[in-house]
């Protein structure tokens, strides 16, 4: 029983490496730094910066910056396990000549349920992605499961796993609707009361209803509570 959780993680990683070997496969890295602040019992804010870069493209490893993002989320805790959030997001691709900049507005509702140390989270999002030439309306739903790797409670210095699956539907005027699926697994460390690091892999199956693309993201995140 002790080995079940790490096994799941390792087999997921192996599946992802299997994919790398396939043709047309693109791998990108995403590194984020996130600041969270609790304004009151019911209101909290989040500011984050994120950088995305190519790691593997055209059958060879490479490093090329794709974009930088900054975003902000305002969250209203409706109660202990229901939250409403509004987000505003800016993506810059101009600087790197990789495409259109984007401004995005996000509305989010999330619900979590905890059972014996395992937390189940449901997240619903609607987004308006404003690009230079079009506006994309996107609906997302994510189901996530997270749990500490030792015991049922995450203590300082301990490790946890977060696994998620998300489906996305994008609609915009000139294009056909696009559906995506993202599966991720991440491992995290609660270093201190206020700092945690998280890293893992996300497989994105993009536009699988049109012409499927596989992207593998290597994610790293630092989260600081102030």
């Amino acid at each position: 029983m002790h080995y079940i959780k790490p096994l799941i993680f390792i087999s997921f990683c192996l599946c992802c490496f299997q994919l790398i070997a396939q043709n047309g496969f693109v791998s990108l890295g995403e590194t984020a730094f996130s600041l969270n602040h609790k304004v009151s019992k019911t209101y909290s804010v989040n500011f984050a910066m994120r950088s995305r870069y190519f790691l593997f493209e055209d059958h060879k490893p490479k490093y090329k910056q794709q974009q930088v993002d900054i975003y902000h989320f305002s969250t209203l805790n409706l109660n202990y396990n229901h939250k409403l959030s509004l987000g505003v997001y800016h993506r810059n691709r101009d600087w790197f000549d990789t495409g259109s900049n984007e401004t995005r507005f996000t509305q989010q509702f999330s619900y979590t349920k905890q059972k014996l140390g395992v937390r189940y989270g449901h997240r619903f999002r609607t987004e308006q992605r404003i690009l230079n030439t079009k506006t994309i309306f996107r609906q997302r739903y994510r189901f996530a499961v997270d749990f500490p790797l030792n015991g049922e409670k995450l203590d300082i210095g301990e490790t946890y796993l977060v696994n998620a699956i998300e489906s996305l539907l994008s609609v915009s005027k000139p294009d056909n609707p696009e559906t995506d699926i993202r599966i991720s697994t991440q491992i995290g460390w609660q270093f201190t009361e206020d700092l945690k690091l998280q890293t893992g892999l996300e497989h994105r199956l993009e536009a699988f209803n049109l012409k499927a693309k596989h992207n593998l993201f290597v994610l790293t995140t630092a989260v600081l509570k102030i």
Binding site: R119, A144, P148, I156, V162
Partner: protein
Amino acid sequence: MCVSFSFSQSKNEKEERIPISQFPEVARNYFNNFSYKVKYLKFYRETDGDKVSFEAKFRIKKLYYSIEFDINGKLEDIEIVIKEKHIPRHTHANINTYFNAHYKKTRFIKIQKQYVNYTNQSDKSFIQHIVEHPNDKHTHFEIIAEIKTDETRELREFTFNKDGKFESFRKVTSSSYDHALY
């Protein structure tokens, strides 16, 4: 009293899974002779400041048990997770009266029936008896609830006696709750 499942009290509280060899010796063989099959038997050590206690958790016949011992292996209490509808009606009414009188709003997060060994049975036979007769006389109810007053909103762990009379509460912080990024 134990608060399990992802609630932490303070920075110097730690809960960790341990092998049975690190469990108090006297209590190690308490869980192997029930007439029903024990599932998911796990052992934990909890440190809260200077206090160390031990906990065994398992499932039998769809009921989740957590049994807490002190450092010498003496039984502190047995707890079984129940649903709100399983609280007897008159007890539930008493508990509700308490919450309505003291708080603007209450939401139950976790409810447990608690059994403390006030009998002259040995700990081992008391545990055996409760596991075989889980509907037998419990001594307390432990409820983790989110409460709201004019000033605050927080999680508290309440203890009621078997008739639903309020006995005590303590604050529970839920810091470990935001470990994933939502």
